[in-house]
């Protein structure tokens, strides 16, 4: 177990939603949770007492190297506009932009964590026409790059850890911070986009309560239908990473359980999907197929499984509640 770690959390072009999510952590509250896992929160814009000059003095000490920093969390996209000046996001109370602060502080940190898809890849602010030139720390919506550059490594040697998601699951954030503090996360624990593999090695589709409908291609047609939402309602969960359906959100929900499509919020560029709630198709076949499935197979299997769909599954797919219960009877084959 490493010694206690210091954590500084800053918000750039964010909605504050990642903070709202992480505040759900801990049976005794987030502060107690951080304390219990050995993290000392130097400053967080939403929860700390220090304000104004006290904060700026502290940040300047970190910048100058007078005060060490173990973990820097950034929530929100780094806004580079207009014209590379970063002036769409000045850090209040200073005449400096957040772009400038981030570039100054990140090299001082033991580990840099991008919290949420904005800090990781640019997120919604980077949505077309990207009015503020929004970027992630080490990636952009369009590929590597980001404001710290592809080669950036924090003092620990780690690239930026991208806890993507919009908003990310509270557990993704907290478990990552805890692993960092405990010195248990290395480059091999991240995927190619810097996302922790403990959630990124899964697809959001895994464990969806609609998986039986998926297998039989029994599809929802309207919002609140119970069938699989991939064929008509835009569900991207077969292409989006996340263990969303294996752990629950807010005490028991998930996007697809809530009755609406996965919009692939963990992926770079998700903000530029056009028609989030409809499935683009060519000749009746969805354009976005499961990541590792050849198209011909998908088409053949879909045809086969559609022909074998039990009545229960077919009827329930187009209703907002089960209309045919499971069991042997007229409804079963």
């Amino acid at each position: 177990m490493a010694d206690r770690s210091t954590l500084l959390w800053l918000q750039a072009g964010s909605c504050g939603g990642c903070t709202m999510a992480v505040l759900e952590c801990g049976a005794r509250g987030w502060s107690a949770e951080l304390n219990a896992v050995g993290i000392d929160l130097i400053w967080h814009p939403s929860v700390s007492l220090a304000t104004g000059a006290e904060v700026i003095e502290r940040l300047e000490r970190i910048e100058s190297g007078a005060e060490p920093l173990d973990i820097l969390c950034l929530e929100g996209a780094v806004l580079c506009g207009p014209n590379g000046t970063g002036r769409f996001n000045r850090f209040a109370g200073t005449d400096r932009t957040m772009l400038d602060w981030v570039r100054a502080l990140a090299p001082r940190a033991g580990t840099v964590v991008a919290v949420g898809s904005c800090a990781a890849f640019g997120g919604i602010p980077a949505g077309d026409p990207d009015p503020t030139d929004a970027r992630g720390l080490q990636h952009t919506a369009r590929g590597p790059g980001g404001v710290l550059g592809t080669d950036f490594r924090a003092r620990s040697g780690m690239p930026v850890i991208n806890v993507s998601g919009c908003a990310p699951h509270p557990g993704w954030i907290m478990e990552t911070l805890e692993a960092v503090a405990a010195g248990l996360i290395g480059p091999g624990d991240l995927d190619a986009l810097g996302r922790p593999r403990f959630f990124a090695d899964h697809l959001a589709h895994h464990g969806c309560s609609r998986n039986e409908f998926y297998e039989f291609k029994a599809s929802a047609e309207r919002p609140s239908d119970r069938g699989c939402m991939m064929e008509n309602l835009g569900c991207k969960a077969t292409q989006a990473v996340g263990d969303c359906n294996q752990r629950s959100w807010n005490g028991g929900g998930t996007c697809t359980d809530g009755g609406y499509a996965c919009v692939a919020c963990t992926a770079p560029g998700f903000e530029n999907i056009r028609g989030f709630l409809a499935t683009p198709k060519i000749a009746g076949i969805p354009v976005g197929l499961p990541l590792d499935m050849p198209k011909a197979w998908f088409v053949a299997l879909a045809a086969l499984s559609k022909s074998a769909t039990p009545k229960r599954v077919r009827d329930n797919a187009r209703a907002d509640r089960p209309v045919v219960p499971p069991g042997r009877g007229p409804g079963t084959r």
Partner: protein, 482 residues
Amino acid sequence: MTRTIVGPFNRVEGDLEVRLETGDGVVREARVTTPLYRGFEQILVGRAPADALVIAPRICGICSVSQSMAAVAALRALSGTVAAPNGVLAANIAHAAENIADHLTHFVVFFMPDFARPDYAGAAWHPAAAERFAAETGAASAEILPVRARLLHVMGLIAGKWPHSLAFQPGGTTRALDLGARMRLAGIWRDFRAAFERIVLGVPVEDFLAIETAGALAAYAEAGRADLPHFLRIAAATGCDRLGRGPGPLMSFGAYHGEDGALFAGGLTEPSDGWRPLDPDRIAEDLSHAWMQDGPALHPARGETRPDVDRPEGYSFAKAPRLDGRPVEVGAVARQAVDGQPLIRALLERDGATTVTTRILARMVETARLVLAVEGWVRALDLREAFCAPEAVRYGDGAGEGLVEAARGALGHWIAVRGERIQRYQIVAPTTWNFSPRDAAGRPGPLEQALVGTPVGDQPGRAVAVQHVVRSFDPCMVCTAH
């Protein structure tokens, strides 16, 4: 006169900077700066109308349901969709849960920690306040955060996830609750009521709502052992009931719309005067002191958003919304005053203005009223009926207006569609009203007015009274300029 810049302001949502001109130990003039612009109105243009349901909530992680509800209302108006009654009830329940989570987080995590500051060391009440309300380590936040997390289980049931859910659609909500879910919902609500009565009110909700006069409130404050009476005693000792005066008018779009109208009526009121109807067509956004390209003050249905960081007179990314040319205050205190809630009305009439105390108190009054309303909504769900209207939603060319109330006040979305694409999308958020900059006539926004006269001692940058006034509005800067 001395000039001071205060910022970063923490324990508010997003980035805020306040410039103070002070003299003789008080604030003479204030200018409020929103230093962050992300461009949601520009990002929404050109997309399919329904995509607003994904983009708009992401304006704000603290009130994403409110943003969803405004987008839904605008899309409903545009398409003529009629929502399933169950969907309206379920959305109202989720919206109430979000607003209550906001009110509680604001009270305990954002606002009260200032009373634990060393500035107050020596006051008789300070040791108890510090023990209870210190930022991060205080006993109150350790109690409230788990209550908040449990309350947000409402979102897991109704909305799938929070923040940023797609469950809120023009036709209703996308998950039909079954009997088990309804029972779970009732259980979450029972837990919430019990925690709220024990930790915050110290008395049953009904007894608290029976307090209708300043005298009865004083008696409650004296006797009570919970966090709200605790606050009221500190507020009396520190003069919060004379601090941060907002002269009005107060505005509400009306909250929790249902088949029988709104739970909290919309309209306009002065602190010392009665209700008037509100004409939303009289809203216009002034650009004269915003970092926006120059242009006339326009109604949001015709408004433009073209940022210009070099604008010489500009000092904020917020535009300055005005109603009939006047700045107005919005928020829980406005909502309760407009709805005629007796206690809030009595205090406003006594003080002739909103104050730090009434803004804080109104949030807890509202929470108490919502506890009862949600109990009724859960009972009213008809589990045999749909939660989402089965008809497909069609968006033709046209325009729609969505006027709702977020926790922090009046929230409006205005959409115009042409050729199946969003042609214009304008948003006026609660904090845009409250923290607006000056307008072309030089009239300051509500916070700018409320700060005038605030005592700052000889260190304006560290004056705790300024912190109380600013936080009493529960600003959300990420919504402000969006």
